[in-house]
């Protein structure tokens, strides 16, 4: 018994230290990105300035000049917000119906929806470009990006909402029905207040996925509707010489979402587990 206590005493010191080291290793690349963004392009590649250098905000002040950052950032905000909004507008009623009036087909519909997420985007890229360029004339418009972002995230949104709604006791809804509440009233007065947390975390996750999306947003836009993903992908070519400014623009592209994630991590987990982990 004595040996065990001794070991666990040592453990209470060692394991937290290990945990801290692991966490710092995982965070290091992000730290390095932010750190490098305060170096000039010349300093960023010199080993002698690896840790000690004169910090400069030059990369951030020149960001607009070098990269036209704000246009891409505004596009990212617009497309991600509207896509999230539309995905919720379509997803909430659907998930509501599935959770509270499940039929025999509900499970299959859910499975099918998730399986559309597995279709490789590359397989349908050319038809999408062809259709939107030659027939619909909506290539490189905000509308198209919003539509596509909404559709690719819709299955995940419905799944997450479904798992949240399922947790709401049916009796409350039944009681509302007894009192003669309409379906709309049911959603507005009973469901939304109860499911608010679930809807909010779904919206957050959807927004994060939209913001980070880098396949469709890069390939279905040229200039007008190009988002931050496009900016990063498009400017990776002269990277060797411009570590400083590349770091600054990358930091500006990821930090809003990383910080958002920090504040909402607890809410995000439950949704991400698709209700299968309690």
């Amino acid at each position: 018994m004595a040996a065990v206590t001794e070991r666990s005493k040592l453990g209470t010191i060692i394991w937290p230290v290990v945990a801290w080291i692991v966490a710092l290793i995982f965070f290091f690349p992000i730290f390095w990105l932010v750190f490098t963004s305060f170096k000039t392009d010349a300093d960023a590649v010199k080993p002698e300035f690896l840790f000690f250098f004169t910090p400069t905000l030059e990369n951030y002040t020149n960001m607009t000049q070098n990269y036209d950052y704000w246009r891409f950032a505004i596009n990212s905000v617009i497309t991600s917000s509207f896509a999230t909004l539309f995905a919720l507008a379509v997803g909430v009623p659907c998930a509501y119906a599935m959770a509270f009036n499940p039929s025999r087909g509900t499970k299959d519909i859910l499975m099918w929806m998730l399986s559309t997420k597995m279709l490789p985007a590359a397989a349908v890229l050319y038809p999408m470009t062809f259709l939107t360029k030659n027939f619909l004339g909506i290539f490189d418009t905000h509308f198209l990006v919003i539509l596509v972002l909404c559709l690719i995230n819709l299955p995940i949104v419905i799944w997450m909402l479904f798992t949240y709604f399922k947790e709401i006791p049916k009796e409350i809804i039944e009681a509302g029905k007894m009192d003669g509440v309409t379906t709309w009233g049911e959603i507005k007065d009973i469901l939304i207040p109860l499911a608010w947390g679930g809807v909010a975390s779904t919206a957050l996750l959807c927004f994060i996925f939209c913001w980070n999306e880098a396949y469709w947003t890069v390939r279905l836009t040229t200039i007008d509707a190009a988002t931050l993903s496009k900016l990063i992908e498009g400017n990776r070519a002269p990277e060797g010489l411009f570590f400083g400014r590349l770091s600054a623009v990358s930091t500006a592209a990821v930090m809003p979402i990383v910080v958002l994630g920090w504040f909402c991590q607890k809410q995000l987990v439950q949704g991400l587990t698709f209700g299968a982990v309690k």
């Binding site: 945990a19 801290w20 692991v22 966490a23 710092l24 995982f26 965070f27 992000i30 390095w32 990105l33 080993p47 690896l50 379509v90 009623p93 659907c94 119906a97 599935m98 009036n101 039929s103 929806m113 399986s115 997420k117 597995m118 279709l119 490789p120 985007a121 590359a122 397989a123 349908v124 890229l125 050319y126 038809p127 062809f130 259709l131 559709l151 819709l154 994060i208 980070n212 880098a214 993903s229 990063i232 992908e233 990776r236 990277e239 060797g240 570590f243 590349l246 770091s247 592209a253 990821v254 979402i257 920090w262 991590q265 987990v269 439950q270 587990t273 209700g275 299968a276 982990v277 309690k278």
Partner: protein, 312 residues
């Protein structure tokens, strides 16, 4: 109106939207995969517009199957996805167990650990391949250079110097070659998705039955056998979730591959489709159909595995 009408109406928009989203482009891909369709052809200009007269039957499919890149791309896709899955699950389990006890600063550790998951994939790739893994300018190059200087200095010491002079000069690894760039992709995606696995496993660990563990301790079970016999079975469902969600995302991995592998031969299936699509749409579409088939096989397998547990 029956009881079923309203629920059905509520589901209709989502179902119709997803149906259109799936069927329209997919049937066009199917059509293009059976015709000769190229974007530029001086000799056969009639092939540059899609038309039924250019019917090629299964010609595009056999062309793709005989392209040596095709099998390499499939092999590489499987290698990349499997390695990422194994690494994230193993690392995720280890870290989740590590963090699943209270210690000073646990909240901050959690925040630090989860951060990579929110980084944009394009930034992830640019950051790793340039600033970290670059053999000259990146941290790897700088670290190797530093170690070499250090060893060089140690050679001048008496006695020990003889030992260090046996050491060869360290060479930095270039992650832009065909095979090594696949490792770079595995590394950066593992970095990004391990936090996801950690979060899910941690949530699940918190619901583990502690009394069972105490009973096991009393019966003399060591921590390792407790982990294998109690914790791992408890985590079966979350592991399935992690595998399923990651497969959905990694089968269509593109941004990382594109940024890391530009022109060096490393490719997965989506990237190969992209290459074909720069001119030969017929072949790209046929490859796309193969990718859809592969995804479906995996999807059926995964959904069977996970589907049951999701519904109750």
């Amino acid at each position: 109106m029956s009881d079923r009408t309203i629920p059905r109406l509520l589901q209709t928009p989502a179902v119709i939207l997803l149906l259109i989203w799936m069927i329209v482009p997919l049937s066009m891909t199917l059509y293009f995969s059976f015709i000769r369709y190229v974007l530029n052809s001086l000799r056969r200009p009639e092939w540059t517009t899609p038309a039924l007269e250019n019917w090629r039957g299964f010609g595009n499919y056999s062309y793709v199957l005989n392209a040596k890149d095709f099998w390499f791309a499939i092999q590489n896709s499987v290698l990349i996805v499997t390695s990422i899955l194994v690494l994230t699950v193993v690392l995720g389990l280890a870290i989740a167990v590590l963090v699943n006890r209270s210690f000073p600063g646990r909240g901050i550790v959690r925040v630090l650990l989860i951060s990579p998951f929110f980084v944009m994939p394009a930034v992830n790739a640019v950051l790793w391949i340039n600033m970290i893994l670059d053999p000259v300018l990146g941290l790897q190059g700088i670290a190797v250079g530093g170690l070499n200087t250090l060893i060089d200095g140690l050679r001048d010491f008496p006695v020990l110097g003889a030992f260090f002079s046996l050491w060869p000069e360290l060479q930095p690894i270039s992650f832009r070659a065909t095979q090594t760039s696949a490792y770079a992709v595995i590394m950066m995606v593992t970095w990004q998705w391990t936090p996801f696995a950690v979060l899910i496993f941690m949530t699940s660990l918190q619901s583990e039955d502690e009394s069972q563990k105490e009973a096991a301790t009393l019966d003399g079970a060591g921590p390792w056998s407790q982990f294998i016999n109690l914790t791992v079975p408890h985590l079966a469902r979350p592991i399935a979730i992690v595998v399923m969600i990651q497969s959905i995302f990694h089968l269509s991995l593109y941004a990382e591959i594109e940024i890391v592998s530009r022109g060096n031969g490393n490719k997965n299936l989506p990237y190969l489709i992209g290459e074909f699509a720069s001119n030969n749409i017929g072949a790209a579409s046929a490859t796309g159909i193969f990718a859809v088939i592969l995804a479906n096989i995996i999807a059926i397998f995964l959904l069977r595995m996970v589907g049951k547990s999701l519904m109750d």
